[in-house]
C-alpha cells in the first residue's frame, strides 16, 4: 500500500447523537478518525463508548448526525464486542467456519485464522470449554479473518493476561501499519499509551481529543 493510501480520514463523524429509551447516550459527537491509526475511546462507565462503537459498526443507527466512511465496504469491518458473542455449543473451528460463511470468505481463511491466532490446538474444543483469554482470542480471530479495513474493539484487553495483551497490541500495530484503522474502547491507562489518538468521552459528550503522545500522564483519571 502506498503512503498516500495510508493517509486521510477513515471515518468522519458529524454531530452524532443517540438516545436509548429516554436517556441521551451520545450528544454532538464530531470527530475524525485517521486511516492506519489506532484510536482509543476512553471514559468512565456509561460515558457512551460502547454505543459509539456500535454505531461505527452499524449495529446501531444514530438518531442525529452523519458518518462519512472512507474505510472501504461495510463488509470489511471487524468487530470485537465486549461480551463473548460466538456460540458455546460450537467448536472453535465450527465458530470460525460460521463466521467465514457469513462473511463470504473461504475455508482457507479458517485455516489461516487458526494458524495466525494459534487456535489450531483448540480447534476441536467447544467454545464453552475455553478460558477467558482463549475465548477472547477466538473473538479476535473471528473479527480479523476477512482482512478488515476497519477494526472496532470494545475493551479487547479485559480478559487477557499481560502476555496475551502484548500479543494483541503487536497484532493491532501490525494491522494499522498496513492501513487498517483500529478503534477501541478501554479503561486502562496502559492501553491508552499504546493508542495513536485518544478521544475521551464524558456523559455522552467529547471531553477531550488529542494524540496520545500529547495526553497527560493520567489521561483517564
Amino acid at each position: 500500500m502506498s503512503t498516500e493510501a495510508l493517509e486521510g480520514p477513515s471515518l468522519v463523524l458529524t454531530n452524532i447523537g443517540k438516545r436509548i429509551g429516554t436517556r441521551v447516550v451520545l450528544s454532538n459527537i464530531s470527530m475524525s478518525i485517521q486511516r492506519g491509526r489506532i484510536h482509543g475511546l476512553m471514559g468512565p462507565n456509561g460515558s457512551g463508548k460502547t454505543t459509539l462503537l456500535r454505531i461505527l459498526a452499524s449495529i446501531l443507527g444514530s438518531d442525529t448526525g452523519r458518518i462519512e466512511r472512507h474505510h472501504g465496504p461495510q463488509e470489511r469491518i471487524g468487530y470485537v464486542p465486549q461480551r463473548f458473542c460466538l456460540y458455546d455449543e460450537l467448536t472453535v473451528r465450527e465458530n470460525l467456519r460460521f463466521q467465514a460463511s457469513m462473511r463470504g470468505v473461504g475455508a482457507a481463511a479458517v485455516a489461516e485464522a487458526e494458524r495466525r491466532f494459534e487456535l489450531g490446538v483448540l480447534s476441536m474444543r467447544r467454545a464453552a470449554t475455553l478460558s477467558g483469554g482463549q475465548r477472547q482470542r477466538l473473538l479476535i480471530a473471528a473479527a480479523f479473518m476477512h482482512r478488515p479495513t476497519l477494526i472496532l474493539c470494545d475493551e479487547p484487553t479485559t480478559a487477557l493476561d499481560p502476555a496475551a495483551r502484548g500479543g494483541l497490541w503487536a497484532l493491532l500495530r501490525r494491522e494499522s501499519r498496513t492501513g487498517t484503522t483500529v478503534v477501541l474502547t478501554t479503561h486502562e491507562e496502559a492501553d491508552a499509551r499504546e493508542c495513536d489518538d485518544i478521544t475521551r468521552l464524558q456523559d455522552g459528550r467529547i471531553a477531550a481529543s488529542q494524540a496520545a503522545a500529547a495526553a497527560p500522564a493520567r489521561f483517564t483519571s
Partner: protein, 360 residues
C-alpha cells in the same frame, strides 16, 4: 437466629424479583383464571348441534323429515343434499355428522364415526328419532319406521385413531412454537445477537436460517408419530400422502413463524416460553382436540376458528380418518395459509424493529 435472618433475606429478595417479573406474575395469576373461564364457559361434552343432511327427491318428504328431526332430535341442524354423492362429500369434509337417504329402501342413515364421542351422540339421537317414527305424527307419510343405520370411517368407534391423529397437531404446535420462540430470544439473552448484527444479518436470513432446522425436526417428529400410530394403534396411513405432507408442512411453518414472532417480542427465553404457554392453552382446549368443537358456545367457536390447530385437526382427521382429498380440505387450508401469511409479515416487521431498536 442468623440462619433465619438469611432465609428471610432470601425470601424478601425472591419476592421482589417475583413482583418485578410481570410476565411470570401474569402467568401465575392469569393462567388459572383463563383455565377456569375456558373450562367453565367454553368446554362442553354434549354437542349443542347435530348437523344432519337429508337426501330426498321429493321436497315434501325432505321437509317432513326435517320437521320430525327438529322435533325429536335436540340441536338438529338440517340441510339438504341433492344426491348421495353430495351427502357423502359433506361427510368426508366433516361438514355433516349424519346423512339420511330417504330414497333408498329402507331409508339409510349414515353416521360419521371418526369422532367416537360425537358418533355416540348421533347414534343415540338417531335411535330416538327412529323410535319416534314408530308413532308417526300423521298417518300418511311414506317413511317406514325401519331404517338401516351405518357408521362410516370408524365403525368400531375406536378412540385411538381420533386422538392419535389429533395428537400430531398438538405436538407440532407445542414443539414448533416453543423451539422457535426460544431460538431468537436465546441469541438476545446470550449476547450472540450482537455478533449476528455485526455480520449485518437480515430479517429474512434470520427467519429462514433459524427456522429451517426446526422444520426438519418437525418433519421427523410427524413421520415418527404417524409411524408409531400405524404400528401401535393400526391408524391407517392415507393414500394422499402428498396432501398430508403439504398440510403438515404448512402447519409446522405457521407454528414456527408464530414462535419466532413471540421470540422477537420477548427479551429473554422465559417470557418467550410464557407466551408459548398462553398460546398453547387455548389452542389445545378450543381447537376440538379434546372436546367436541360443535359442543362449544358461539364465542368459543369464533376464537377456535382463529387458531391454526383447529383447521389442522380438521384437515388431518379428514385425511387420516375419512380419506379426504385436496378438494375436501381446501376450505381448511385457506384460513391456515392466511394465518401463516399474516404471522410471517408480523414476524418480519417485528424482527426488523427489534434489530433496529437493539439493545432496548
Amino acid at each position: 437466629m442468623r440462619r433465619w435472618a438469611r432465609v428471610r433475606a432470601l425470601c424478601v429478595k425472591e419476592m421482589i424479583q417475583l413482583v418485578r417479573d410481570r410476565a411470570t406474575l401474569g402467568m401465575m395469576l392469569g393462567v388459572p383464571v383463563l383455565q377456569v373461564l375456558l373450562f367453565g364457559f367454553a368446554i362442553q361434552l354434549t354437542p349443542r348441534t347435530l348437523p344432519v343432511t337429508i337426501v330426498a327427491n321429493s321436497p315434501d318428504t325432505a321437509a317432513r323429515v326435517a320437521r320430525w328431526l327438529k322435533n325429536d332430535v335436540t340441536g338438529a341442524v338440517v340441510q339438504q343434499a341433492r344426491s348421495t354423492h353430495d351427502a357423502q362429500t359433506l361427510l368426508t369434509r366433516g361438514e355433516t355428522l349424519i346423512t339420511i337417504e330417504m330414497d333408498s329402501n329402507p331409508p339409510r342413515v349414515t353416521v360419521d364415526g371418526s369422532d367416537p364421542v360425537l358418533a355416540s351422540h348421533a347414534l343415540a339421537a338417531i335411535d330416538r328419532f327412529t323410535h319416534g317414527l314408530a308413532n308417526p305424527y300423521d298417518g300418511s307419510d311414506d317413511f317406514k319406521p325401519t331404517v338401516e343405520v351405518n357408521t362410516l370411517f370408524n365403525p368400531e368407534l375406536r378412540t385411538q385413531p381420533y386422538l392419535v391423529s389429533g395428537l400430531l397437531g398438538v405436538i407440532l404446535t407445542m414443539t414448533m412454537v416453543m423451539m422457535s420462540a426460544l431460538s431468537f430470544a436465546r441469541e438476545r439473552e446470550r449476547g450472540t445477537l450482537e455478533g449476528l448484527m455485526a455480520l449485518r444479518v437480515r430479517p429474512f436470513e434470520l427467519i429462514v436460517g433459524k427456522l429451517a432446522p426446526y422444520f426438519l425436526l418437525g418433519v421427523a417428529q410427524g413421520t415418527a408419530l404417524l409411524t408409531a400410530a400405524h404400528l401401535a394403534f393400526d391408524v391407517s396411513i392415507p393414500h394422499s400422502r402428498l396432501l398430508l405432507a403439504t398440510a403438515c408442512s404448512l402447519f409446522a411453518i405457521t407454528n414456527l413463524v408464530l414462535g419466532f414472532l413471540f421470540s422477537t417480542l420477548a427479551r429473554s427465553q422465559m417470557p418467550a416460553m410464557q407466551m408459548t404457554f398462553f398460546f398453547f392453552l387455548p389452542s389445545s382446549l378450543l381447537s376440538g382436540f379434546m372436546f367436541p368443537f360443535i359442543a362449544m358456545p358461539a364465542w368459543a367457536r369464533t376464537v377456535g376458528e382463529l387458531l391454526p390447530l383447529t383447521h389442522f385437526l380438521r384437515i388431518i382427521r379428514g385425511i387420516v380418518l375419512r380419506g379426504a382429498e385436496a378438494s375436501d380440505v381446501a376450505g381448511e387450508l385457506r384460513p391456515m395459509l392466511a394465518f401463516c401469511v399474516v404471522v410471517t409479515i408480523a414476524a418480519a416487521l417485528s424482527c426488523r424493529l427489534t434489530l433496529r431498536r437493539y439493545p432496548v
